[in-house]
Symmetry: C2
């Protein structure tokens, strides 16, 4: 194997794929990236057996070959090289890397020790706007559970409903749902959160459309020259729609930033109560107030002027409310709830594709 | 105590002084900031018994008083308030803080439980350019030792020599020295690194000059409305000047960024050898090369073209060289050494006030 690539392309590709390498110490070759010529391109690939990321870059190939090279060292080395041409030349399992005044030899492992890259066939295929899908992922993925005892909740539920493609995630305490696009296909897949986060992370800047391929056990995101392939999570996602109230007894609208600020301030006094804040609407005064109490440190009450439809109060984890404000689009929000036990619903006044539900704290 | 201040001023002052609070759990009041009216100003102060930071801000004082308030909560609370007026009103040891729609009560501790703020008298006084002193501190303080077994090496040696004021620091493996200004006074003080770092951190943006006051056991930095007072480190700083070679057998000049790059690249292969890289000059070829070797992973050689005065080689910890490059001004450096055991000297070709010495690794 002998070839020349540019430092810029190689460095970017290594940064893109290299991050999934190095998870499983039980199989040392998984610490490595696979480099393999393919006519006038170089394939760079890494996998942790759950997710595989591959990227092709243009290469001036003088002779074909393949090798695996320690991902971290290779990535850091190439990142630090000056811009310009980098020559890769294989000698047994030693890869000579030369660039300008930099001469290195990195010891690799044979390419045939590297796991087979996953294939996907008989797949459904959707083409989605890259910016749109990326935004929908960031609005939902953070809500997914980190607790492996219920694996289905650790993923994002990508599914069709009533002519729309939806992403939904819940950890049992809160739920985020985003309608992404109109579709005719019938889709149902639970995609691991880490795969979703990787897709957002490695999306090339110039990529305008993402092709999502789904078979019964795998998903692939095709993003220009970058591909992510991942297993799906097995199981049935809870029928979350029945939890979203159609109507609420109490509702109010408020500027998002003002509401976020009173929640943040209240949260400072809520540390010893696990983040608990109490939100109260007052029709007569015409405001919504948030109260929090730290027995040792003091207490706080903050208000925003608004016109609630009824009087009521509910206690919530302030962190969940802050997270929701960070995910919701637009400058004005409408909040609905029905007393101390029913779900608390947050929607944007300027975007009807997203809703965020928080379960109250028992108080 | 009742007074009004602006959120902007109070927030900045709390951020400035609050960071030294909270170190000593043995004395709970040290978690607090002291607030005390002083005619038409409010004093905000915190101390950890080694360093005290105080700041005055303008206030509309309606009645005098003093209280101490938990630093972290107070700082975070005021930071999150909207811009505008904040009213502080004391009721026993409860401080009511009101701003716009935000109403809080924070429980304090009586001001007389707060330690006496340190006084300084019969002090020497120097007035120095703020930007100049800040830069000199950042060029030297990072070299100071973090090992408490030799306390004098954990400080920065601020002293006069031959009509100049110098800062010097060493951890026994490397040394940085910066000439700051011409002075006539006779100065000798070892200032704790943490005090130096705090002085840099809290220097107000609009402060052009810093007054440094020194008595036999304390230093005070007066920076506009902010004062830091700290104990000095007791003891005698080593006579480091005898370690700096007047001349070296081998020297070369190189562009700083090019030299930094070959050191960084070499350091990637030097992890298993504790960062050891070997620098070699070659008069015949006309370059300086850096070699590093990782027995498992591979090896690297990188060069920069230059005209060394003689052939030679020396092994160094690459991290120390990277640190030195980050501290030295200008775009071109001259390096001198005298073989494998003598000190390695780095100077800027554009600034003769700074020198950086690294002791070689035995190889």
């Amino acid at each position: 194997m002998k070839l020349t690539v540019t430092q810029e392309n190689l460095s970017k590709a290594l940064a893109t794929v290299g991050k999934v390498a190095g998870g499983k110490v039980s199989l040392p070759v998984l610490n490595n990236v696979l480099l393999r010529t393919d006519s006038n391109r170089l394939l760079i690939a890494a996998t942790n057996l759950e997710i595989a990321i591959t990227q092709y870059i243009g290469a001036n190939v003088q002779s074909n070959g393949a090798i695996t090279i320690p991902a971290r060292l290779m990535t850091e080395y190439v990142t630090n090289l000056p811009k310009g041409n980098v020559t890769l030349e294989l000698d047994g399992t030693k890869l000579h890397i030369n660039a300008d005044n930099f001469h290195s030899t990195i010891n690799g492992m044979a390419a045939d020790e590297f796991p087979e890259l996953p294939a996907i066939s008989d797949a459904q295929s959707l083409t989605l706007g890259a910016a749109e899908l990326k935004h929908a992922i960031t609005q939902t993925v953070f809500v997914a559970s980190r607790d492996d005892t219920r694996p289905v909740l650790t993923g994002v539920y990508c599914h069709s409903h009533d002519g729309g493609l939806y992403l939904a995630a819940t950890d049992g305490y809160r739920l985020a749902e985003r309608r992404v696009a109109d579709i005719v296909e019938d889709i149902s897949a639970i995609i691991p959160s880490s795969t979703m986060q990787d897709a957002v992370r490695v999306l090339p800047e110039d990529c305008k459309e993402i092709e999502v391929m789904l078979d019964s056990s795998q998903v692939r995101f095709l993003m220009g020259n970058v591909e992510i392939t991942s297993r799906l999570i097995d199981g049935t996602f809870p029928d979350y729609r029945q939890l979203i109230p159609k109507e609420t007894d109490i509702s109010f609208s408020a500027p998002k930033d003002d509401f976020l600020r009173i929640v943040k301030v209240a949260s400072l006094f809520a540390r010893e109560s696990g983040g608990s804040i109490t939100i109260k609407t007052d029709v007569a005064v015409g405001n919504v107030s948030i109260h929090s109490l730290a027995s040792q440190l003091g207490e706080n009450t903050s208000e925003v002027a608004t016109k609630p439809t009824a009087d009521g109060s509910v206690s919530l984890n302030s962190r969940y409310v802050v997270d929701a404000m960070g995910a919701i689009d637009g400058s004005s929000i409408t909040i609905g709830f029905s007393g101390k036990l029913a779900p608390f619903v947050i929607r944007s006044d300027e975007d009807d594709t997203y809703q965020h539900i928080i379960m109250p704290l028992k108080s």
